[in-house]
Symmetry: C2
Subunit: 342 residues, 2 copies
DNA sequence: CTGAAAGCGCTAACAT
DNA sequence: ATGTTAGCGCTTTCAG
């Protein structure tokens, strides 16, 4: 690793000048400029980002906290985050909390504000206290997918109207003529998917339909979780004609369960999910789902974070404004092959 | 962000002492120690990792270059990398090259050796020249999944015997009684999957079987790619009873194609892949595949990289040893539901 | 056991 | 147009 001053010496100038040509700051004579560039080339010099970060008082990275990158939804999101982050020269550090608040805290303590300028939080099951502390230390935090635009979390966030997503899904099923509809909720009862379920209930009630508790299952947010829940549901009520899942993964599991039970989707059973992950297009039949603006959310999240980094909110001001919230465009129904008229 | 010296001042000591207690270096009196800890707590102090990195001349991160984190295989790998990296206090920066050597170079130029101590390369389609330059600059590079243990790439690497994987897959099909077997190769003809295909050919030849060119397709390494290729294959040879794909994703696509063509898997068509990604267990029927030791490869890769970081090879020594190569344990066949006797 | 001081590689005024 | 000079926050000898 050669350094700035080595380059400077070789070019017969001072390091300030080298810095200037490298960053196109200040005026530099064309010839010196050339000599510097040659020296850079000759020495295979690259600026030391950590040193630069220290000198500038900023960092070229942001952290993305997720519960586990192995959940197929997150990579899609992470990819979008990275794309957007690159625009401002930020690298992204992926932090897998594995749903463990302790691991999450460890990450925040180490990274936030030192290695990374800010942190994006995506369903990582973090302690809000830790998040506030992180903010207080000067590292902006933004929640990437807040599920309730009508109920701000007290932290900057990107909100997606997931209640609406639930409504849309239920309405679709109802319009198709389904009445006995089961629900699989991919979280604990008042967990992250609660508002999706509420939306579902809303639409059902509006149509004069009840959802008895025995038609609802809470399950892990995975294909396997959906599979188990769906089997359970289907075995308890052979007349159920449709199943709504709060996420695509359990919906996919539901299709498998149906297949194993000899029920054809969509003929015997309609299935709908939420999100529209890539896999949703690739199942047989392709999954009908309510698409959520993932990429948009990612871009907004990075943009908001950047903004917070640029214009730090005064931490101890008397008139602390409410944390900013951006709402994405609305979720929309994508009809594919897993639902049909009954 | 409070700093070391602020903490020092508050504790009535000097920053060297604070540094010592924080890192358990040097001897520190118990009482001073306590006072320092209190000050740290009171100020909500966290060490500035970039500053520390600069002072120590090392960095707390490693970079993982992948073509796109959205390919479902990579997140599994990335997760394992991260777990292992954490053990030595390294964070991982994900670099999506998007198969673009130019993007890859840009990443290497910026990150390697400054923000991150070393780089892990996973099928990122990088220029070997760039990789060598990176190394020369002092940032160790390791290739994470080299496909041919018998043909070292001239860079440190983790090798997986993918030729064997191809053989295992073919043998399984042959033992099941299949003779007319199609192949879908998930790369360009002499691309990354070549050795898997060679292994397949080997086993076929050994069994006295030919693979006419018309029974082979080169396709993108995706579900969709496999789907298209399989349809093509099946429509050209209605008597084909099995298809071997060099990767799970195209194998999954093959199953979809079969379904759409009214061919039952495994009754009418056996399908086998390579890798054993999580999705392989979750298809209907579950996919028979040759499992590759992903997690092991990830761990070895990080370990090797760490080693290279610790003990830098002299770059210009006369007796430059051949770059180190670690070979993982062997791939092994996992029989599930997508293959059967014919 | 603790303090003083130098320096990691770079940037950013301020001089010249 | 280029050089000088201070740091950024931390670690690390080396003294005391």
């Amino acid at each position: 690793m050669s350094t700035l001053s080595e380059v400077a010496r070789r070019a017969g100038v001072t390091s300030a000048t080298v810095s200037n040509v490298l960053r196109n700051r200040g005026r530099v004579g064309e010839q010196t400029r050339q000599r510097v560039l040659e020296a850079v080339e000759a020495l295979n010099y690259r600026p030391h980002l950590a040193a630069r970060a220290l000198a500038e008082g900023r960092a070229p990275t942001i952290a993305l906290m997720v519960s586990s990158i192995a959940n197929p939804f997150y990579p899609e999101f992470a990819l979008a985050v990275e794309r957007e982050a690159r625009k401002s020269g930020h690298f992204v550090i992926i932090c897998n909390t594995n749903e463990d608040p302790h691991a999450g805290r460890a990450y925040l303590d180490q990274i936030a504000g030192t290695l990374s300028e800010g942190v994006l939080v995506m369903n990582a099951n973090l302690d809000f206290d830790d998040l506030h502390k992180t903010q207080a230390r000067g590292a902006p935090v933004v929640l990437c997918m807040w599920e309730r635009p009508d109920d701000p979390p007290g932290l900057p966030c990107i909100a997606v109207d997931f209640r609406l997503a639930g409504q849309l899904a239920a309405k679709h099923l109802i319009e198709l003529g389904h009445r006995r509809i089961g629900a699989i909720v991919g979280s604990k009862p008042s967990g992250i998917h609660a508002s999706r379920y509420e939306g579902f209930i809303d639409a059902m009630r509006e149509a004069g339909l009840k959802v008895p508790a025995k038609n609802v299952r809470y399950a892990p947010d995975t294909i396997q979780g959906g599979y188990t829940a769906a089997r359970d549901l289907l075995e308890h009520d052979a007349n159920m004609t449709a199943i709504f899942a709060t996420n695509d993964l359990p919906a996919l599991g539901t299709m498998h369960a149906a297949a194993d039970l000899g029920r054809n989707v969509p003929r015997d059973l309609s299935v709908i999910g939420i999100t529209d992950i890539q896999l949703a297009q690739q199942s047989r039949p392709p999954l009908t789902t309510v698409a959520v603006p993932t990429v948009e959310a990612a871009e907004l999240a990075v943009t908001l974070l950047r903004d917070l980094i640029e214009r730090p909110t005064r931490k101890h001001g008397a008139h602390q404004k409410a944390p900013r919230m951006c709402v994405t465009s609305e979720p929309r129904l994508i009809v594919r092959g897993s639902t049909q008229k009954r």
